[in-house]
């Protein structure tokens, strides 16, 4: 049982690779949550669907790595819902598609008790993942992925006759590409897995608000342990995961000029609990806590993020 669950358990590792943490003035270049838990490729003709929700909050300004007295936005937050579908095209190749919708992206201002709210479809990411190396005896796997990022809306959103600022636009309006690598090492006898995920994201075109989001690089290291213990069966369907993530983002461009107060260097810790049932369904909850934050210029900082996801595997018998 232990082995079965460990093998099939889809560790719903949500990659907060470019969440609002890339906020310069709260602007985020893409979908808050992406990537599937299967860090390798899916089995041929099997599929995986993931539905997730994320809430993120931002407050307090930073200048460099120090808190700033600057006051402008008292609280910014978003609620985002996303859907990811993965399909095993072949023994070594998987395709994935992701779409997302911002239920709200809201800024509450320090003055006049005013707020602005954007909403709508974000970006789509379509990618192919290829397994370069897999060794069953060594329990080791290495895969790479490349994908295209497509804005689901290119015209800026207008609410009550006012064009929303780029920070509140649901879609980045930029076309881009995403490159990823996945390293997985398992220790089945210890119910332990280690992952290293690297992600590089590049945006190409200027959007309709003359904005190009800067390149982003994120590296995440995960330790996951299946909570199987010989003395109890209560926890055998649970997996605990701890993620340490570093995110680096280059400054954005506006009208072909660097935006000084943009770009950041951030470190997060993200504990996660995963519940597997029927060997097909997974329910995950994750909290995103900033450990270290460095921002170019003065920028709104991360407070915390919370996500919940539900996934199901199909066709695992193949």
């Amino acid at each position: 049982m232990k082995k079965t669950i460990f093998s099939y358990c889809f560790l719903s590792i949500l990659l907060f690779h470019h969440s609002g943490v890339y906020s310069q003035c709260f602007a985020s270049p893409g979908n808050p949550v992406a990537g599937s838990a299967n860090l390798g490729v899916l089995k041929k003709h099997s599929a995986r669907a993931i539905l997730f929700f994320k809430n993120s909050q931002f407050s307090g300004y930073y200048e460099g790595d120090k808190k700033s007295d600057f006051k402008y936005i008292s609280l910014a937050e978003y609620n985002y819902s996303g859907f990811v579908l993965g399909y095993g095209l072949g023994k070594k190749i998987t395709t994935e598609a992701e779409v997302g919708y911002f239920i709200n992206k809201t800024q509450h201002y320090d003055f006049l008790n005013l707020s602005l709210r954007g909403y709508g479809f974000s970006n789509a990411v379509i990618s192919l993942k290829y397994n370069i190396y897999k060794s069953l005896p060594k329990e080791f796997e290495f895969s790479i992925a490349a994908g295209a990022k497509l804005p689901l809306k290119t015209e800026p959103q207008i609410v009550n006759g006012v064009t929303l600022p780029v920070d509140l636009q649901a879609s980045s309006g930029n076309f881009g590409m995403v490159l990823q690598s996945f390293l997985v090492k398992q220790y089945p006898e210890k119910s332990l897995r280690l992952f290293l995920i690297n992600r590089y994201e590049k945006h190409f075109n200027e959007n309709k608000q003359a904005y190009v989001f800067g390149d982003a690089i994120a590296s995440s290291f995960f330790v996951s342990r299946h909570l199987w213990f010989p003395w109890t069966s209560l926890t055998e369907d649970f997996t605990a995961i701890l993620q340490i993530r570093h995110e680096f983002k280059k400054p954005n461009d506006r009208f072909s000029q660097k935006v000084k107060a943009s770009g950041s260097n951030l470190v997060f810790v993200s504990p996660q609990l995963n519940y597997n049932f029927s060997e097909l369904w997974n329910l995950s909850a994750i909290v995103d806590i900033p450990l270290y934050q460095y921002y170019n210029g003065i920028q709104l900082s991360n407070k915390y993020g919370f996500s919940i996801s539900l996934s199901r595997d199909f066709g695992l018998e193949h």
Binding site: Y72, Y109, G161, V162, T163, P165, A261, S262
Partner: protein, 118 residues
Amino acid sequence: MKKKVLFGSLLLISGVIIFLEACKKDNDTQGDTIPLVFSDLKAENDTIYAGTSTSITATATGKDLIYMWSASAGDILGSGNTVTYASPPCVPGINEVSCTVKDNINNTQTKTINIVVL
């Protein structure tokens, strides 16, 4: 004879109704032709510090006016002919704020002002 009187009466009533409707439409048409004049776009302060705001007012005449606002950078809060322009820390420099006014027959006029953010 009675039929002729009845027919004549109906004709007269119809004529009156058509005349009244025509007059009504004339009045509406007169309303449609109120010319759109966008006379002024003015900021309370044309230079502000990052993290502060200023109000901007558009002055225009016309029928059923709709005001549409945009900024090259920064945030526009509120709606209608007076809004608040606010500047986050990431957009120093000269920022353009545009207002387009549209009337009931889709005539539009646009004005732009510069707000300097220090």
